[in-house]
């Protein structure tokens, strides 16, 4: 009998080999499922983690915070999410760009979904962990480019000192601030001429 005759086996094989981390926890944070992606990145094989407490296996996990996330899913039957922008990673895995990356660890997005039983109550929580390193790297480059652009538009190209545009913008901001707080402020302007002989 081939794999196509057993849809259950097919689904299991896909879960095992999907390029995303998938694991399932019961109410006591014991691992019920641990796919190959998790095994390869954590160095802990499925057989070694099944039935064991996740926080004992990974003492470095921030327990109060992560258990709260898991608890919300059990209590509300809701989805929950963890974004790399707020928490760079759940598990400190190596990323898949060891040569071209220039970052120290994998950035991760995670989704927690309730696995409901026949009664409609969540009996386990499935965590799907997605590598967001590429997005994080691009975002980092974008922020750096924006910062450089903002800086260069405020400076004179030849001397590198702040230009008139920057001065005017700053004056406007200070004027508005003084207006908001009812302050008075003074502006001192001096002209320096530096001539190289």
């Amino acid at each position: 009998m081939g794999v196509l005759d057993q849809p259950q086996d097919l689904a299991q094989t896909i879960v095992e080999w999907l390029d995303e981390g998938i694991f399932v926890l019961d109410r006591d944070y014991r691992v019920v499922l641990w796919n190959n992606y998790m095994a390869h990145h954590s160095g802990k094989m499925s057989a070694d983690v099944l039935g064991r407490d996740l926080f004992e296996l990974f003492p470095e996990l921030p327990k109060p915070w992560f258990s709260k996330k898991v608890k919300t899913v059990f209590t509300l039957g809701n989805f929950a999410f963890i974004a790399w922008e707020n928490r760079p990673y759940l598990f400190k895995f190596a990323h898949n760009r060891p040569i071209t990356g220039g970052v120290e660890h994998m950035y991760q997005n995670s989704m927690l979904l309730p696995l409901k039983g026949a009664q409609g109550r969540p009996e386990a929580v499935c965590v799907v962990l997605v590598d967001a390193t590429d997005v994080a790297m691009v975002q980092g480059q974008l922020h750096e480019a924006m910062r450089k652009l903002a800086d260069s538009s405020n400076r004179d190209g030849l001397t590198g000192i702040y230009n008139r545009r920057c001065l005017e913008e700053r004056m406007r901001a200070e004027f508005e601030r003084a207006g908001r707080y009812g302050d008075t402020f003074s502006w001192r302007c001096s002209t320096w001429t530096i001539s190289k002989g």
Partner: protein
């Protein structure tokens, strides 16, 4: 004000926007069980968490009603990761009308107020025309059942 958006798909399709008004999210931190000082990342996470819980509850409730009326347990929804739309902006700056690609949408609004905490949030569900066929069918069935 700050806003978080999240999309949902399944028997209903659309986006939820949760708009937070008022002084800030610090007042919610202890409610959600966050300890210590919230950094910038922590504050954003709090906004996302609260928005996710509110939108999950509202759409979950809507889904329950659909299930009750149709008598089917099949109806389901899945959510995408919420993201911060805007932080500390004026209401007019939230959506730029000229950049919208749609003209009609079903709007459902739910308002939340926690009087003891000076917390106000508006939850706005927006569903495009093709995203509400299921809902329209259910409402039709419900009306004809009287």
């Amino acid at each position: 004000m700050s806003a978080v958006r999240q999309s949902f798909r399944g028997d209903l399709r659309g986006e939820v926007i949760v708009i937070f008004c008022g002084p800030g999210t610090g007042i919610l931190a202890d409610l959600m069980g966050y300890e210590g000082e919230l950094g910038a990342g922590g504050e954003a996470e709090l906004l996302l968490d609260v928005a996710n819980v509110l939108s999950g509850a509202c759409l979950g409730g809507l889904l329950e009603q659909i299930r009750a009326i149709t008598g089917s347990r099949e109806a389901d929804l899945s959510f995408s990761m919420p993201s911060v739309m805007a932080r500390h902006v004026l209401p007019g700056q939230l959506i730029e009308p000229t950049r919208l690609t749609w003209t009609h949408s079903l709007l459902l609004e739910v308002n939340f107020t926690l009087k003891s905490r000076n917390f106000v949030a508006h939850l706005v569900m927006l569903m495009p025309e093709e995203g509400i066929q299921k809902l329209a069918g259910v409402v039709d069935d419900f009306i004809t059942s009287f």
